[in-house]
Amino acid sequence: MQIDPWIVALSLVTVIVTIGMGFWTAKHSKSASDFFVAGRSVSVGWNASAISGEYLSAASFMGIAGMVMKVGYDALWYPVCYACGYLFLLLFIAGPLRRFGAYTIPDFAEGRFDSPMFRKIAVIFVLFIGFFYTMPQMKGAGTTLAYIFPGLPYWAGVVVVGVIITFNVALGGMKGITLIQAFQCWMKMFAISAPIFVVMAFYGTYGQNLSINLPANAAKPLPAHVERVKLPEKAPADKKWVSPFGSLTTKAAAAAGLSPAEQKPYSLLYTYSLIIALVCGTAGLPHILVRFYTNPDGMAAKRTTMWVMILIGVFYVFPPMFGVIGRNLLPELYSAVGAKGTDKIVLELPLLLNHKVPGLGSILSGLTCAGAFAAFMSTFSGLLVSMTGALAHDVYGRMLRPQSTSHQRLIAFKVSAVLIGVVAVVLGMQVEPLEINFMVGQAFAIAAASYFPLLFMSVWWRGMTIKGAATGMLTGGTLALLGITLTSVCDIVLITSQKNGTPNPLQFVQDFWLAHPGIRILCEQPAIWTVPLALTLMIVISKLTRKEIPADVRMKMLVLHAPEQLGLKQEYIQEQQAPAH
């Protein structure tokens, strides 16, 4: 495949505009408050666009389509729960969290329980969740650049994008990326919707393309405009692909040799655990939560959440369309792995239009490439700000150098951004064999078992103590992290050993999972037991240590819940407060 000038040009424009906006906003980002919470002055419309821009990551733009194409119906849980998880955030967390007025989630953890120690625990999870979420963005970067420049190694794309974003964040901080993310949100909306409408005009509608996969229509002639290329051996059969309890949720049980009827209960277990991870995880993602502090008040935070749900809900209708039509038109992607597999369907599908109208496919493929750039760049920016905030504000400004000046903390922010950026690039280079969407789901599972229980209980239960909160969050989060890391490492080792034809050093673990598919599911999707475990531990330990409930808990609850009109809102961190809290 040759380098397509349209694709290169449109992608390049996205990168240049992003960098240009970074420079422009850097001039307006002066104070520490600008860098950490954009001066707490972002309006509902801007913030909803920026949050959506940050949230619609490589997983949303590329991964969902790739996963729908690969596994079918089972993958639909991802877009639905990615969007609907915001409802939990709206109902239980968004408003109170903003009223508390911190800069970061570790700030909240420390302030709610008057414990600097708890800040340290919270920081660890900001970094863990952030790095897990960063890896799929890097995979998106490597995949996209390998598509644009055929022959370019995967790692080169990871390095190029990593350097650009790190530079941008170090320049402008939170205030800088708010404008960029808002712009990128609308760009992604256009880039995911416009090309698929044109594709459908030539190759049939979403429903028509899906209908030919329904078993009942197998013998019927194809609807008008719809085309279908013969599926390769690696592609799942129509019935398995279009029905619930397909190859994603039955993978462990099918590998264990169970019959289809025996697989179904395992599939149900997987589905529920996935739902809990995605819904609760959305309400516990530090890089998303931190954006709510940029709202002027709690009510604005709630309104922002509702608009985010509408924006991302509209967006998430489109990626499955690429997966469905891609299955019919580009099934050869089933046979490829890594950066060449189904994860690139969003980029490649529009290119088919060149057969209908020369040049049109290149322009639209360039548009989806530009959207992909916007996707992983905006999410990586947000993650970098969140993790950098944890290092510069929580570790440096609060733990190591509490007497540091605002200027010193600004320098620390820039140095931390570079440090985190380097680690993210190195990690991103290791995950080419894993699916983008799957990796993001795992970051959600860790957030669901750590931050979600902490925030939910801290906001709504006065009886929570520092020991209860810390025990629940540490145990739930760590067990989720261990289970997920174990399955991911085993999968990478298995794929690598199969590719190289060498023995698998972790074969004994694979053998154990073949004998116990339920345990494999509980490790791969741990939310169904880690979230209740974290909540239970929080309640039990808090009851046992009830004497340690913070003395001013009533005031804290008033700040969290009282309407702003009553004047009880506080800013936990105040810019004027010198030099640190």
Binding site: Y73, L76, W77, P79, V80, C81, A83, C84, Y86, L87, F88, L90, L91, F92, G95, T205, Y206, G207, Q208, N209, L210, S211, L214, A216, N217, V242, S243, P244, F245, K264, L268, T271, Y272, I275, V279, M299, K302, R303, T305, M306, M309, I310, G313, V314, Y316, V317, P320, W460, R554, M555, M557, L558, H561, A562, P563, E564, Q565, L566, G567, L568
Partner: protein, 96 residues
């Protein structure tokens, strides 16, 4: 009875306000959870019904992939409206 200014710091005020807010949140949350968690059960126990073809989609695909989003928007809209009205009323009652 204490003055409204003192009331907002009282245990009774906090308890009443949190209970109202939580009741609204739980009501909306339960509606959402019944729909979301009910889908896998419907797929499990009524596979033929959920496989019915509607406009080219299977019923379960149409609900999950398209119709679920507006359903959640409606819940969030109801929540926002009631939440704003409730907090405004509390604010008006106690601020003056």
């Amino acid at each position: 009875m204490s003055s409204p200014h003192e009331d907002i710091h009282s245990e009774e005020f906090l308890h009443k306000m949190m209970r109202r807010q939580l009741r609204l949140s739980i009501w909306c949350g339960v509606t959402f959870c019944i729909a979301l968690l009910g889908m896998p059960l419907l797929n499990y126990f009524l596979p033929e019904v959920m496989a019915t073809e509607v406009w080219g989609f299977s019923l379960t695909w149409l609900i999950l992939g398209v119709l679920f989003f507006p359903f959640v928007w409606i819940i969030s809209l109801v929540f926002i409206r009631r939440s704003i009205a409730m907090e405004k009323k509390v604010g008006d009652d106690y601020a003056n």
